[in-house]
Symmetry: C2
DNA sequence: CGCTTAATTGACTTTCCTCAAACCTGGTGG
DNA sequence: CCACCAGGTTTGAGGAAAGTCAATTAAGCG
């Protein structure tokens, strides 16, 4: 993932990235309150991360796909604010943060890369906020599908055909909807010829129409 | 804001933090697309930041209060993904990031502090997601009030009495609601004796009841 | 003091949630 | 190999919540 480093630096970095971890579907990578020690880069599979509110209800905050990073939000508090659970059989690369930090102190390019990762994460969060800001359920789901599609595309996977590894109820929770609504919408999108769904695998047939659903329908201020 | 630094380091840091900027209500601190060069620490006043979606509709992503930081999400892309606008007459401290970065390279404690700020920001975002995850409008608004209250408290301001400097439509946009709904809820909260509202200044009368509104009402899975 | 913009309130409509039932799908055991 | 079971998903009907449209009141500002 890191780019712009010298060969020697990369070699040193590889020492940090040696440790791998395999998880089965449903396994938790870390739990809320676990001490922060590692970052996790997803090599294969996918995860959901969620926080548990003071009142005990769960909120899914992210879906993490191959090539993406998990655990960064634990830095400040020293412990993970939420948990991460594998949505399917997955494997991650374990990155001990203190080692990474030390190395970064010596390698400015890596330093910048770390800032980059942090900032990337922040930007992704603001994308999510944009997504959740869509008032209609339709817009939200469309936006999520596009979001996931583009994230796959970005890492070199197919943008139009992928597996929605999370279950409906997780999508619903994430979008602030109910599983029923999500299910209905998926059916509708399919009837409209926007997507094709086969269980959990999904094909995007009409990205443009989908984008319009995600975008338009919001006759709000153009601030 | 930075803690855990030596006296000498702090002095060097102060050279970085000399520049101030004054803004009137409605002024923009930076616009979407502006190159990333500075971070901004809010000395007084408050800001909203918002992103503009591909379709042109605006989504308010943050409200920034005194003592908080703005602009961090611009790092990765090299430019600001959204704009920031002063909600009232405000003053900020301008922090040139390259200078900060260089200094951090020499001062590990500052380095950690920067990570901390990044991570803090991420954690705050996940709080926001938790907030937006509340399905009822009532719960969302209650959660926002509590969130703002606690952020004021944290910086040493009164937790129970403060100014809601943003206008209703911004709150609505932020929460994924309409201005009318927000207005109705505020009225209702007032009738119920939870808050007192005088234009934009607000007094929290019953934090406990408010917390219950924010928390409960979500008969969801207890994950 | 009048004008403009923001906030509130009301009546009505739409959307989404709730509750409930039926339906797949994958795994287990007879 | 098939029946059965459990969890997840889909679909339907009815109700509650929030949105829309429109009118009124309040608040800022020159």
């Amino acid at each position: 993932m890191p780019v712009g480093l010298g060969d020697e630096d990369i070699e040193r970095l590889e020492q940090v990235t040696r440790k791998k971890k395999i998880l089965k579907a449903g396994d938790t990578l870390f739990r809320a309150g676990d001490p922060f020690s590692n970052l996790y880069a997803i090599r294969s599979g996918s995860f959901k991360s969620a926080v548990i509110g003071a009142d005990g209800d769960t909120q899914v905050t992210h879906f993490a796909l191959p090539g993406e990073l998990l655990g960064l939000d634990a830095y400040s508090g020293g412990s993970h604010p939420g948990y991460a659970e594998a949505l399917e059989d997955s494997s991650v690369c374990v990155l001990p943060f203190t080692q990474l930090e030390n190395l970064a102190q010596q390698v400015p390019a890596l330093q910048k890369q770390i800032y980059n990762i942090f900032s990337e994460e922040l930007k992704q969060d603001s994308d999510v906020l944009l997504l959740l800001g869509k008032r209609s359920a339709e817009g939200r789901l469309a936006a999520l599908l596009i979001n996931i599609s583009s994230r796959y595309a970005r890492r070199g996977y197919s943008a139009s055909e992928f597996k929605l590894s999370m279950q409906r109820i997780d999508i619903a929770n994430y979008l602030g909807l109910t599983a029923e609504t999500v299910s209905r919408l998926i059916s509708r999108f399919q009837k409209q010829g926007l997507i094709r769904v086969q269980g959990r695998s999904i094909t995007i047939l009409d990205l443009i129409a989908l984008s319009e659903l995600a975008g338009t329908h919001c006759s709000y201020e153009n601030g």
